[in-house]
Amino acid sequence: MNFFRFVNGSFKIITKGSASYYAWVTFLILLTVWGGFGYANQLAHGLIVTHMRDSVSWGFYIGNFTFLVGVAAASVMLVIPAYVYHWKPIKEIVIFGELLAICAVIMCLCFIVVDIGNPLRFWHMLPGIGILNFPSSLLSWDFFVLNSYFILNLIIVVYLLYCHFYKKEYKVSFVMPLVLFSIPLAIGIHTVTAFLFNALPGRPFWNSALLAPRFLASAFCSGPAILLILFQILRKITKFEIKDEAIWTIAELMVYAMFIYLFFTVAELFKEFYSGTENILYWKYLLFGIGENHEIVIYSWSSIAMGSIAFLLFLIPGTRKNFLTLNIGAVLIYGSVYIEKGIALIVPGFTPDTLGQIYVYTPSITEARTAVMIFSSGFLLFTFLSKIAIAIVFEDYCIDDLSSKKRKEKVDKVPVTV
């Protein structure tokens, strides 16, 4: 019953808010509905309304899935520097990082569901009632680690907030091992996702040992970028305290990640282009196009351009410590990795296809709308969860507010998030 009150209290938080909060939520709901109609169209006619075909059998959906796995993984990995550098609000960093991870994992699973041809048969994957091809299929591993990661993060966050809500001291002996376990698991979900592609010898573009390291490095660029901005917002609107130094340290760590990513990519490119085997075709398609087919080149170069600018902005101390340029850099690196994972990773793996034929894939409107549906509902969820967390952690919203009258005044004062 205690837990039910906690849920009830949390629910009350998300239904109350300022006008701009309502506007933001309405905006997200409208986007979700608009996207939802696109998805309904796909449900009715099948995946034929996407631009995926036998030659390019995975596209934008799986790209988004891969990107979000990176976000989910990286947001928790921020716990390591927070711990190492003794940033003061480590608990808050854990909470918001894991909230982001929870939303990202949910969005991942949504992207899998919209990508499969028979979403109703999803239960076939559930162990016990269905048949999970474990351990043979990497997809079953991914399913397993993603769900474990989701449950683990959910337990940690709910436990922390629950304790806060009931004004109890949380047990470090309970939380700490879970947090520590969630870090290797974060690396695990991203590695397994990379292995998902890596494991296919028939697709030389992915069949490189550097794929998983590159994945992790790029996740370390994009995941913290979101939190970097989120922390600044939180610092402004709540009593969340994070020093400038901590933010700069995050940025500094992102530079390392970008450098490592750059290095891995250069190593990959050197191997491909210097040896010049026929496997070079995939990179050629990505970077220069083959024959008349240049449609994807714009994506790859815009990702490269955004990434390079962000790298410079983060590298030069002057721009790193200027919050305007820092935030521009964060947005750019986020966009760069998004395009890289969303398009530039998946599509060249399939083009040319295994029989050497070229089918030019770019996402269809339906795919874009479905992605908008998932992202906006994911953001909505994240807004709600952050609002609950902010209220409980920073505004001392607690069990007393549920029973006493002063609750009402207090809740109304909860500021807008994000």
Binding site: H51, R53, D54, S55, I131, F134, P135, S136, Y359, V360, S364
Partner: protein, 192 residues
């Protein structure tokens, strides 16, 4: 060799995983069939010679040509190689070592309804493959075991063979180019 390496790796891989997770449902039936199981066989062994009695499709005569004796019974046989005044449909296309050969290298001069081997042995038109085989022995050998040419029927039972002449015109045996069936749709055109 490579296969066994792979198998070994697989076992270690599974062993490693089973340490973590005890439940492994493995219905891998492929283990029962390995390429190593194919034994060496001798193509000259008895089994390949038992096809002497072969069910063949009937020879594909053009209309009104057979029996030849319907006309040739009334004509005087002439063994001298020359340009024929008849059979333009054949002489026009004749292209089968035409520099060195002509009608009577295969058709018998006297018994017009028979074919004739180089040895002088006469053959029925239903056995024309033996005539082809006296030059194209390797093809005949492949054909007997079903590797050259078409067969229909059952892969493990009764089969019907097509005679050489069912596919190759004996007077001009090289295959002629044919019209291909429609190419597959272009995937990008389907979208537009």
């Amino acid at each position: 060799m490579k296969y066994y390496l792979k198998t070994k790796f697989k076992i270690e891989y599974l062993l490693f995983l089973s340490v973590c997770f005890l439940i492994i449902r493995c219905n891998d039936t492929s283990e029962a069939y390995k390429p190593g199981q194919i034994q060496k066989i001798n193509p000259e062994s008895e089994s390949y010679l038992k096809h002497e009695e072969i069910a063949v499709s009937p020879p594909p005569f053009s209309d009104g040509v057979f029996p030849c004796n319907d006309c040739h019974a009334f004509r005087k046989p002439n063994p001298v190689r020359r340009k024929l005044e008849w059979h333009e449909d054949i002489t026009d296309i004749f292209n089968h070592d035409s520099e060195n050969r002509w009608c009577l290298d295969c058709h018998d001069l006297i018994k017009r309804d028979s074919l004739r081997l180089a040895s002088g042995k006469l053959l029925d038109f239903k056995e024309s493959h033996k005539l082809c085989g006296q030059c194209h022995g390797d093809k005949l050998r492949d054909w007997k075991v079903g590797v050259h040419g078409r067969r229909t029927g059952e892969w493990n039972g009764k089969k019907e063979y097509y005679l050489c002449v069912s596919c190759h015109n004996p007077h001009s045996p090289k295959f002629k180019p044919i019209k291909p069936e429609a190419p597959p749709f272009r995937e990008d055109e389907e979208i537009k």
